[in-house]
């Protein structure tokens, strides 16, 4: 036995080595892939966003540069003002900064983190520098505009003074000219012209003209100076010189004009004005003077340019930081890709090495296996020798086995005896469905004697191959381990119906050492038990019917008539909707009266109709329904007898009242009317039935409707009023289905969620009965009615016409009928029923608030129907007798 073990060992070795190599290969690949994935993720999630952030930051810095340039290049407050809002740049900087910081922290690189920290500080520095620059530029512009205004004032004053000087000069010139004219006419001497005061004055005026114009020009020039140096030079030299010159010329002129008071006054005026203008222009002690303002502007400009430099430096630093971050990120990216490349290379060499190793191991194992096969051949020879020896030993053993078998047969026979004595059928079945030997006698009685090895399903269902197949499949499922055993067991058939008996099947597993070896199938006869149960249920149904009859015989009778009518509608309905509606109502009503078989029949037909909404009832179903109704009717008659249905109900109180009247020997008519009252039925009952129908309908339509009933103690002739009650159902349906809106609509219209329907019956006093059906729904849509009426050529001018139209058969405003109502026949039938009683029916409706349907039946109709209605209906003979006797009384 050494060689096979060696083969096995070699194969295991080979397999082991192969598996080992494979595992190592897979592991290596996994490691490589993971590492590369990590690097890639690092690149994607950290480095790339960092680069994007840096690009964003650089963009923001570029915008900051642009803003700084824009702010610096503005020329006035008005230009600067729109730039006050720098939220965009702030947002961009802050965003880039925050995003970068978070990404840098993620990157986990110390150098990057440090960079981020310095960058934060730099951004703050930049923002504050920018704000300072803005403020400084603002001040510059404001100073500049002050300066321009002041300069303008000085300018215009000087211009005015120039005009005055010209005037003075013109006057001096005129004096000269007049002098010259006098010379021309010989009135004056040339000497006077040459050395006289007139000429000197004229020249002085001309000098003044020149000096003041030069001064004005210099003042105007201040506005064009570019820096403080030029201004300094002007203030130090030209301006004071020009000023002094003007003052000097003015002084000279003043001296020369003392003889001419008019001119002297003008010159003095000019002196004062010029002094003022001069001060306004050049006085450096006055902060508002032209020169001071100019200086302030320059100083502020220098300040602004310093801040601007700071701004630029900070932005540069920010840029350097951003670049640093970028280059560091690049470095990391490069490192990552280098790592990935190295790893790929390593993985490549590793796989090659493993492959070579695998080939080597295979070669080695191949040689070992060839060696083992040679050993195996030798071993084989030894084995055939051993076999021959074994056969000899076996012959002795067979004799012993035969002896044991005869003992076992004896024991089996005694077990069969036990089985045969039990009443139940017991069948032992092998896992493949074959019958095993053990089974009780009852099995033979019920299923006949099966041939050996018969399959259990063929035994149980000899003439039903379909069921046999079902059983077989269930059995196979039970035997396979697909489902939990208990679940599979549940799905086995549990009963068999034979022609005369009902058999119950039970299954019990037989296990040996936990393994299922066979099943024990127990068959029980439960026919008697089933019969008892059915009898009990029928008895309960009869009890229910009886209870209903006893409770309200008149109602029950009406109910029966109604059932007949509904059945007629269901079987001969005009359309699927009507059929369904009638069928459904029939089902509900049958359930109310406890007619369970009719209910079940309706339910079954409904189920069949359920699939196809356009289908009418099949002829077969119609027959079934009618026969079910007939059966129910006859059953009811059989149970309670016609007499029960036409009973008169008189309470003790009623009787006592009559006896009291008789005792008091009251008037015959009074007594008669009191007794006559017995013939009538309290309206409370039919109203309660209607209310129950309304509630049922509401819950079916998913509406919340509170139904209130006020019967007013009124009694009416049950037979005469039966058609009215029946048709009143239509009004109820209309109110619940069309009148009362769905809860959401009601809420939207500001009404309580729960609708309200009131059924009120009262005696109007003169014996007239008034029955009101009031809902708080949406009212009748008169416009829709008008449209429908017009379409049918009916009168539709007034509201009364429209209300009339509502009562016409077949006029419906609904485009689609629901299964509850909507064909437009109901109200017409109701009016018909009313008019048969001599009554009227009116509808009043308020859009959005509700509808009231009001029926008035005059007393004459009540009196009349005692005889008329009776003969019209179908009274059983016994009932006719009782009504006759009451008429006699």
């Amino acid at each position: 036995m050494k060689s096979p073990t060696s083969i096995e060992r070699n194969l295991i070795l080979l397999g082991g080595v192969g598996l080992g190599l494979f595992v190592v290969l897979v592991g290596a690949l996994f490691v490589v892939q993971t590492t590369m994935g990590t690097q890639q993720r690092r690149l994607q999630q950290i480095i790339v966003p960092i680069q994007q952030d840096v690009a964003g930051l650089e963009g923001a810095i570029a915008a900051a540069f642009a803003r700084e340039a824009d702010v610096s290049s503005t020329g006035s407050t008005a230009q600067l003002e729109p730039m006050r809002n720098r939220t965009d740049i702030e947002r961009r900087l802050t965003q880039a900064r925050i995003s970068l910081k978070s990404h840098l922290v993620e990157a986990g690189d110390d150098r990057l983190r440090k960079r981020a920290e310095t960058m934060n500080g730099t951004v703050e520095d930049f923002l504050s520098a920018d704000a300072a620059l803005f403020a400084s530029m603002m001040r510059t512009h404001s100073l500049d505009s002050d300066f321009r205004a002041q300069l303008g004032t000085s300018d215009s004053e000087l211009h005015d003074q120039i005009v005055r000087v010209q005037d003075v000069a013109g006057r001096a010139k005129l004096a000269q000219v007049l002098l010259l004219r006098r010379i021309a006419t010989g009135e004056a001497s040339v000497q006077e012209v040459v050395s006289g005061p007139v000429r000197v004055r004229g020249e002085a005026a001309q000098d003044l003209q020149g000096s003041i114009q030069r001064y004005a020009m210099l003042v105007a020039l201040i506005g064009t100076l570019r820096d403080a140096d030029a201004l300094n030079s002007m203030i130090a030299n030209e301006l004071p010189q020009a000023h002094a010159r003007v003052v000097e010329d003015l002084g000279q002129l003043a001296e020369l004009t003392t003889s001419d008071p008019d001119l002297a006054a003008r010159v003095t005026d000019l002196q004062t004005q010029f002094e003022r203008t001069g001060q306004r222009t050049t006085d450096r002690s006055d902060a508002r003077s032209v020169v001071s303002l100019r200086y302030a502007t320059f100083t502020e400009r220098v300040h602004a340019s310093e801040i601007r430099e700071l701004c630029r430096t900070t932005a540069q630093r920010l840029l350097v930081d951003a670049r640093g971050v970028e280059s560091r990120a690049d470095e990391i990216a490069t490192r990552a890709s280098r790592t990935a490349a190295g790893l790929t290379q390593a993985a490549r060499y590793g796989s090659l090495l493993l492959a070579l190793l695998g080939i080597g191991v295979c070669a080695f194992s191949g040689r070992r296996i060839m060696h083992s096969v040679a050993e195996l051949r030798a071993t084989n020879q030894n084995l055939s020798d051993l076999k021959r020896q074994l056969l000899d030993v076996n012959e002795g053993l067979e004799h012993t086995v035969a002896q044991r078998t005869s003992e076992l047969r004896l024991r089996e026979r005694s077990l069969q005896l036990v089985l045969d004595t039990t009443g139940d059928g017991l069948i032992s079945v092998a896992t493949d469905g074959r019958l095993l030997g053990e089974r009780s006698r009852a099995v033979g009685d019920w299923f006949g004697s099966p041939p050996p090895d018969m399959l259990i399903w063929n035994l149980l269902y000899p003439n039903d191959p379909r069921r046999a197949l079902t059983f077989q499949l269930a059995w196979a499922q039970l035997m396979s381990d697909e489902l939990p055993f208990d679940v599979a067991l549940e799905q086995m058939p549990h009963s068999i119906e034979q022609s005369d008996r009902l058999l119950q099947l039970e299954y019990k597993p037989v296990r040996e050492k936990g393994r299922l070896v066979s099943m024990l199938v127990t068959v029980l006869d439960v026919t008697a038990r089933r019969t008892a149960e059915r009898a009990e249920r029928d008895a309960r149904a009869v009890q229910a019917i009886l209870a209903n009859v006893l409770k309200d015989p008149a109602g029950f009778r009406r109910g029966m008539a109604e059932l007949a009518e509904l059945t007629r509608m269901a079987t001969h309905g005009r359309g699927p909707a009507e059929v369904r509606r009638a069928l459904h109502t029939l089902k509900g009503n049958a359930a109310i009266y406890g007619l369970s078989s009719l209910t079940e029949c309706c339910h079954a037909i409904e189920e069949r109709l359920y699939d196809d909404s356009e289908q009418l009832m099949s002829a077969e179903d119609a027959r079934m329904l009618e026969s079910s109704l007939r059966t129910t009717m006859s059953c009811v008659e059989e149970l309670v007898g016609p007499a029960q249905l036409d009973r008169l109900e008189i309470t003790r109180e009623d009787l006592a009242a009559v006896i009291r009247l008789l005792d008091q020997r009251r008037d015959h008519a009074e007594v008669l009317s009191s007794i006559e009252r017995w013939l009538r039925e309290p309206t409370a009952r039919p109203l309660a039935t209607l209310a129950a129908q309304a509630r049922r309908l509401a819950s079916r339509l998913g509406k919340q409707v509170e139904v209130d009933v006020f019967d007013g103690g009124v009694r009416v002739d049950p037979d005469a009023f039966a058609p009215l009650w029946m048709n009143l159902v239509h009004a109820i349906r209309n109110a619940v289905d069309h009148g009362i809106e769905p809860a959401d609509v009601r809420t939207a219209r500001g009404k309580p969620e729960e609708g309200r329907l009131v059924l009120r019956c009262q005696d109007a006093g003169d014996g007239t009965i008034v029955i009101d059906v009031t809902d708080d729904g949406g009212g009748i849509d008169l416009e829709a009615v008008r449209a429908a009426a017009r379409q049918r050529g009916l009168a539709c001018a007034t509201e009364d016409d429209l209300i009339d139209a509502v009562f016409l058969d077949g006029l419906s405003t609904r485009s689609t009928a629901t299964d509850v109502s909507g064909r437009g026949f109901g109200l017409g039938a109701l009016r018909h029923a009313c008019s048969k009683l001599g009554g009227t029916v009116r509808v009043s409706t308020t859009a959005g608030l509700g509808t009231t349907l009001s029926i008035r039946i005059p007393s004459a109709a009540r009196r009349l129907d005692r005889s008329v209605a009776r003969s019209a209906s179908r009274p059983p003979p016994a009932a006719r007798g009782s009504s006759a006797s009451s008429r006699v009384a």
Binding site: V163, Q166, D167, A169, G170, R171, K173, L174, Q176, V177, L178, L180, R181, I183, A184
Partner: protein, 416 residues
């Protein structure tokens, strides 16, 4: 109430039917007013508002040295508008004048004109006074496409070739006036062109008169008119001495001084010149303001010439008769007569354009080439190339403190 009027259809400017319509409407409005307001006072207030008036604007000198001109012009314009409104306005729509004071200052004038156009929505600017103020008004009128009608100025900048579409003149230009002076002096009075001197206001007004005269001098064969003595004075001052010195220079002996200026400095100039012995003809253009000049000069005004662009207010022309009937005796003068004629010309064009006319159709009617009878002489037709109603100049001179029309410049020699 206002709604009532705006829904009304405007008929043709037919006097009789229009009048009856107004009456009917007034009755109707009266009834409605009475019903709505139950008050006759309220009804009286309601009636004028019922018809939307046509508003014309004016920015003129109602204060300052030139206020006499502005006031007289405004009275003349208002007088004719009253006449026109009494005749039913423009097919029932009354005319209303809105006049603002600019004190003869261009800056204020520009502000006024913009306010009149943008806030008061005037149909046209009518009868402004002054050349520097006109210089700022013309660009606004062109920009806003609002007619600038009959301004009291003869400056060349309102008389471009071709004319600005929205600028319409009534009067002859300063150049035409000074040309008439040159013609009269040289041809009628036989004054040598070399002995003509100028005294002008130092601005566009003065320039336009001066250049008209120099052109006229060239036309009569005098080739160096710019070498003639020319004294100037600054606007809104009376500093005439310097200018006077130029003209009194003993090297020249002017026989005539053509003056283009305002009445106050001109009067001062004439008085001083006469005092210092200058014996010359002083000829002023119409803009000087004849009555104010005469008043200022007093006895020194005898023989001073003022050329007019309207006929004499005592003449027997139809429009002058109408004018005399419309104005109080103390308001009668050349300036108010010009205002009156300007307003008459405006109403004539407006009536032809109709009550629903807009500014464009107004100008279109004006340029249609059909004549307008201003009650002067022959009807005058305007066109795309002619935007001036009158080219005539009527010379007058002061005799006994009053202006008398001059039949010929020779009258002066005779009078002396």
């Amino acid at each position: 109430m206002t709604r009532l009027a705006t829904h009304r259809e405007w008929g043709p400017p037919d006097g009789a039917s229009d009048a009856s319509r107004i009456t009917r409407r007034s009755v109707l409005q009266g009834a409605v007013g009475a019903v709505l307001l139950h008050s006759s006072r309220a009804r009286a207030e309601v009636q004028p508002a019922a018809v939307e008036p046509i508003v014309v604007g004016m920015s003129t000198a109602l204060s300052g040295p030139a206020r006499a001109l502005g006031t007289a012009m405004m009275r003349g314009v208002q007088a004719y508008l009253d006449v026109a409104n009494a005749q039913g306005g423009i097919a029932g729509r009354p005319l209303r004048l809105e006049a603002l004071d600019d004190a003869y200052e261009p800056a204020r004038c520009s502000e006024n004109v913009r306010r009149l156009i943008d806030q008061s929505h005037v149909f046209a600017i009518v009868g402004n006074v002054g050349t520097p103020t006109a210089a700022v008004t013309v660009p606004i009128a062109n920009e806003k496409k609002v007619p600038f009608f009959g301004p009291f100025t003869g400056a060349g900048l309102l008389r471009k070739t071709p004319p600005d579409r929205y600028v319409v003149n009534f009067r002859a230009s300063y150049a035409q006036e000074t040309a008439e002076m040159v013609r009269g002096l040289v041809s009628d009075l036989r004054v040598s062109p070399e002995r003509i001197a100028f005294f002008t206001q130092d601005d566009a007004y003065g320039d336009s008169g001066y250049s008209g005269a120099t052109q006229a001098l060239r036309a009569v064969g005098f080739d160096r008119p710019e070498r003639l003595p020319h004294g100037r004075y600054p606007r809104n001052t009376s500093d005439v001495e310097g200018g006077l010195a130029r003209i009194l220079d003993p090297r020249v002996s002017p026989a005539a001084v053509i003056m283009v200026g305002a009445y106050s400095p001109c009067a001062k100039f004439i008085k001083l010149a006469r005092r210092y012995g200058l014996r010359a003809v002083f000829a002023n253009v119409s803009f000087v303001g004849s009555e104010a000049l005469a008043a200022e000069l007093g006895p020194a005004g005898e023989g001073v010439v003022v050329t007019q662009v309207v006929p004499h207010y005592d003449s027997d022309l139809p429009v002058v008769r109408e004018y005399r009937a419309a104005l109080l005796a103390e308001d009668v003068g050349f300036v108010s007569l010009e205002g009156f004629i300007v307003a008459r010309a405006f109403v004539q064009v407006m009536r032809r354009a109709g009550a629903k006319a807009d500014r464009e159709s107004f100008i279109d009617v004006l340029e249609s080439g059909e004549g307008f009878d201003l009650g002067l002489d022959a009807p005058r037709a305007l066109s795309r190339d002619v935007h001036q109603f009158s080219n005539r100049v009527w010379p007058t001179y002061i005799r006994g403190g009053r202006f008398v029309p001059m039949r010929s410049w020779g009258d002066l020699a005779g009078g002396k």
